[in-house]
Amino acid sequence: MNNLKYLNVFLLSIFVTCKVSAQEQQNKLGFFFQSEYSAMFLSSHIGNAIGFSMGISSKSRKFDIGILYYGRSGPINNHKTFTLQLDPGESYKGKTSLELGADHGFIGLNIAYNLRLNNNKWLIRIPISFGQIGAGFYLKGEDRITPDGLRVSEWEDILQDGTDAGFGLASEIGVQAFYQPFKNKHLQLGGGVNYTNTYGYSSFLGGDNFYNNKPRLNIGVRINL
């Protein structure tokens, strides 16, 4: 998740590349932004995630290159908790088993091929992404008020032997379709499906395939320049 700070650098690169006026647009690099809600089809549940992709479109508008960022945040996935059975003799606030929340974030390079149809009304997009995931489990609700003034992450490290959060690499390939429903040609609505693989990430409670080998449906808004 530390890599998110590189988003700031990326934003600056968009300034430099995308500084265009209305008269200069043709034959210049373009800009795209896609916000998305996605449903992650994980092993034991469907996870809700929010994110966006953003970057530069080629002069022909056939290719996009940018970043993809999305996260399966714990508070929008309260329907799914994970039980941590503490070691014999160990307890936390008098409890020997705890219900944990889980969260996840992905950031990576996003490259897409764009096929435009029907005078640009339709866009078929084939995105490929590669980057890093960070994911973990955390104490929820009243359990976040620690009994001794320690920070909650210190207790999480004690109870989960420091393995509650981890990082790995991840890739995605997908297909998306967008349609221009309004007069404004810069706005399109659509969605698609992506397939996610992770490399080197092993989940503390969910095993190696918690986020690996999983489809992700997404819907959202696309802005083109």
Partner: protein, 222 residues
């Protein structure tokens, strides 16, 4: 150096004498706040750049002191806003805005923690505005909220850059914009101790100064 800065500022302001400023206010609620209110003033200093001030007050239900959650208190933010228009067409405007805020937080709950903290918050955002028709504008974009606690204990990673998705809609009426703003996105910071998700909804109004009906898409900040 001081003279150079003063001269540059005066020159920029004089060149922008013909330009239109914006004054606005908004009220709202969020995952962390019972209610919040903002007022702002933004002044263009060139065709692309604008600079302004933003003041925000929050009566909160979930914030952090030394990266430990508390459930009651107040915060005040005083921010400098730098706006940069990257691109504009008849029906589209792309902006980068950076709000850098000084934050004062008053802890009204946990007496074992400091009663007040000082911090900084940075809200760089990429914002797109689309003209849907003569009256309606649609806004979308992303904000990378980052915050740091400075006193009494320094927590540099209190909230690491977190991608929050912005969506909004404005109704244009003569020289005013009436805007509904929504924010949602995952957050992380302080090795997992602080906010994990953020949402906010606000309604607001922004006026052109001097008052006139501008044909171009107005500056807006999220």
């Amino acid at each position: 150096m001081k003279r150079l800065f003063l001269t540059t500022t005066l020159l920029a302001l004089s060149l922008s004498g013909f330009s239109q400023s914006n004054f606005g206010f908004s009220v709202g609620t969020s995952k962390s706040d019972h209610y919040l209110g903002s007022i702002w003033y933004q002044h263009p200093i060139s065709n692309r750049f604008s600079i302004g001030l933003n003041f925000r007050y929050c009566d909160f239900k979930y914030r952090f002191v030394n990266a430990i959650a508390i459930n009651s208190g107040k915060t005040v933010f005083t921010g400098l806003v730098i706006g940069y228009k990257i691109a504009e067409t008849e029906n589209f405007r792309l902006d980068f805005n950076l709000t850098s805020s000084y934050r004062y937080l008053e802890n009204q709950e946990n007496i074992t923690l400091p009663s007040k903290t000082i911090g900084l918050e940075f809200d760089p955002n990429i914002l797109m505005t689309l003209r849907m028709n003569d009256k309606i504008l649609y806004h979308t974009g992303a904000m990378l909220r980052t915050s740091i606690q400075l006193k009494p204990e320094v927590i540099g990673n209190e909230q690491q850059p977190s991608g929050i998705v912005l969506n909004g809609i404005s109704l244009k009426s003569n020289s005013a914009l009436y805007t509904l703003r929504t924010y949602a996105g995952p957050m992380s910071g302080a090795t997992g101790d602080t906010e994990k998700f953020f949402w906010m909804v606000s309604v607001g109004c922004q006026f052109n100064i001097p008052s006139k009906n501008a044909s171009s898409i107005s500056f807006l900040n999220f």
